[in-house]
Amino acid sequence: MRLKTPDGNTRRTTSTTHPAVAGETAAPTPSAVRVSAATKRFDRSETAALDDVHLTVPAGSITVLLGPSGCGKTTLLRCITGLETLTSGRIEIGGTDVTDVAAEDRGVAMVFQNYALYPNKTVLGNIEFPLRMRRVDRVARRERALRAAELMRLGELLDRKPSELSGGQRQRVGIGRALVRDPAVLVMDEPFSNLDAALRDTMRTELVTLQRRLGMTVVFVTHDQVEALALADQLVVMRAGRIEQAGPPEEVYRTPATTFVATFLDGMNIFAAEGPFESCSMPGAATVGCRPDHLRVGTGDAADIDLRGQVLMTELRGRDRLVHLDIGGQRARMRVPADNRPSGEIALHVRRSDLHYFTADGMRRS
């Protein structure tokens, strides 16, 4: 599967294989992951952690699972690794059914949120460990570990213990340890959420660069929508054990399938389809949504809907300012340039074409 950007180009190819980690003999073959009808129930729990989940992760691309805590994204990830077993359903990796295959035999490597490095081993010892467990001989092992360390820019730190590393360095070791055995699939469970904002940005860039070089299949879990949009080839939004929407990030952002997806990604404003919105509403739509960027100050023309709003507070967000409004008793947010400081009661408008329509049970209508 190839994913298209708006300008019609393929974003990433699936076949670029870099020999950095693989060596000459074992070229990494990225595998697709297919999850079908996956259901997971934990003991003593009424609700299903995963409820009939169907998902295809294309080989050689980044799929991001996004959702609030408790939505099942980590459970799904752990089921793919084999650390959890499905109550029912099926998981295939590279076309092989691995539903009943033990975690260590699935060829899946994982990067953990809290790094999970072996505290008594050095950086090199950590990276070598998976090869050691797989009885790769000493010379080849050392060579591959050094290459992975080089790739993660850990060359200077090989003899350090994890406790002597910074958070970013630790996570680079974690990624190096995962990559060293050329996994069919690399899964990452909120790997950057313990890092500070600047470092998170850097690591994100590094990860995408690396993924492009090595052509790995990556499943990435996060609750951070900015991270999700930045990384994803395929974005999967989850809620309460189910997939709300899956698709290219541009598409998910532009045409959210439900009000949940709409509000979770960049906080779309949702209004009841009444009052000023009644005239424009389409049949069957109970709510109307518009992005904070699409609310504009001042009165509009015939193609626009005019609104009046009371400014409650404003937050500076760097280049922009987020304005919290009360529009006819409903809360809304608007993004304006930072030097605009609206206050009191103001006139607003929104273009009809920027509106999204949803039914009473939150499904997209259009």
Partner: protein, 304 residues
């Protein structure tokens, strides 16, 4: 109106800050002085005197007590017995309690029950338990002779010069496993679950996960269990005193029991004090040696 945070308006602290550490240290320091330093100094002084508690006569004898006791076969045998006892019990206690802790930790349920079962001997009174064990070892009809004795021919343990010390060691191990197991259990709960998961995904089987993840993390627990077990072994007294009273033919005489015999039974305070000092020195040297040999490595390995 006075501003709230005006320093001059605050009530002056009655105790200047620099006295606070002293105040905090005082209770512990007092305890240490009264119950350790002073008695130890008194014992050291008493070794140099011939003190008769009944007649209240005291005479300075210098190092004559030392010369007499250090060259006596009793002290030598007691030292050998004590060390033998430690060699028999310490590895057994540390090994078995580690296995028990690993087993209990892996149990999906009833963990608390088993923990209690293994810990009960530790909270039971050793002297009372020794009476029970003496019955278990009763010649001919006791359960030990009726089973092991019948199978192997090794009977009447407590009256055998070769089997009495092992019998004492069995009881000491039985009593010592509980506390050391609790230390291991505490250590096991501190091993993060995600390390085991990382290990599994890295292809490590149960043995390798134990050896590369659990065991290093248990470093401090192991060290602590080892030191406590050794210290307890070197000071073994209760079951010796109750079950064999050092016999037969001094084959179970330990330093702590010899100290009791000299100091309390014979009212030879000087000799008792010397045995006491020797025992203290032995404990200190052994623990220091253990700490230097394994301590630093184990402590650091467990650091996260």
């Amino acid at each position: 109106m006075t501003p709230l945070l005006d320093a001059s308006a605050r009530p002056r602290m009655r105790t200047p800050r620099r006295y606070v550490p002293t105040l905090l240290v005082t209770p512990a320091a007092t305890f240490l002085m009264v119950f350790f330093i002073v008695p130890l100094s008194m014992v050291a002084v008493l070794t140099l005197f011939d003190y008769q508690p009944l007649t209240r006569s005291v005479s300075f004898v210098g190092l004559r007590n030392w010369h007499r006791i250090l060259t006596s076969p009793e002290l030598q045998q007691a030292t050998v017995n004590t060390l033998l006892y430690a060699v028999m019990t310490v590895p057994l206690i540390v090994g078995v309690s580690l296995l028990a802790a690993l087993g209990i930790h892996a149990l999906p349920r009833w963990g608390a029950l088993w923990r209690t079962v293994y810990f009960l001997p530790t909270i039971a009174t050793m002297a009372a338990m020794s009476v029970v064990w003496r019955w278990l070892f009763y010649p001919g009809t006791g359960p030990v002779d009726a089973t092991i004795g019948r199978l192997t021919g090794a009977t009447d343990w407590l009256h055998s010069t070769t089997l009495a010390l092992p019998a004492i060691a069995v009881i000491g191990s039985w009593a010592g496993i509980g506390s050391s197991m609790v230390m291991f259990l505490a250590g096991l709960t501190s091993v993060p679950q995600h390390l085991h998961e990382a290990g599994r995904l890295d292809g490590a089987g149960p043995w390798h996960r134990f050896w590369h993840i659990t065991w290093p993390a248990l470093g401090p627990s192991t060290m602590f269990a080892l030191i406590i077990a050794t210290r307890d072994a070197l000071r073994v007294f209760d079951q010796v005193h109750v079950m064999t009273d050092g016999g037969p033919l001094g084959s179970t005489e330990t330093l702590a029991d010899l100290q009791w015999r000299y100091g309390v039974s014979y009212l030879d305070i000087g000799s008792g004090s010397i045995v006491n000092t020797v025992l203290l020195g032995l404990v200190l040297v052994t623990v220091a040696a253990q700490y230097l040999a394994g301590g630093r490595r184990l402590e650091r390995a467990g650091a996260r």
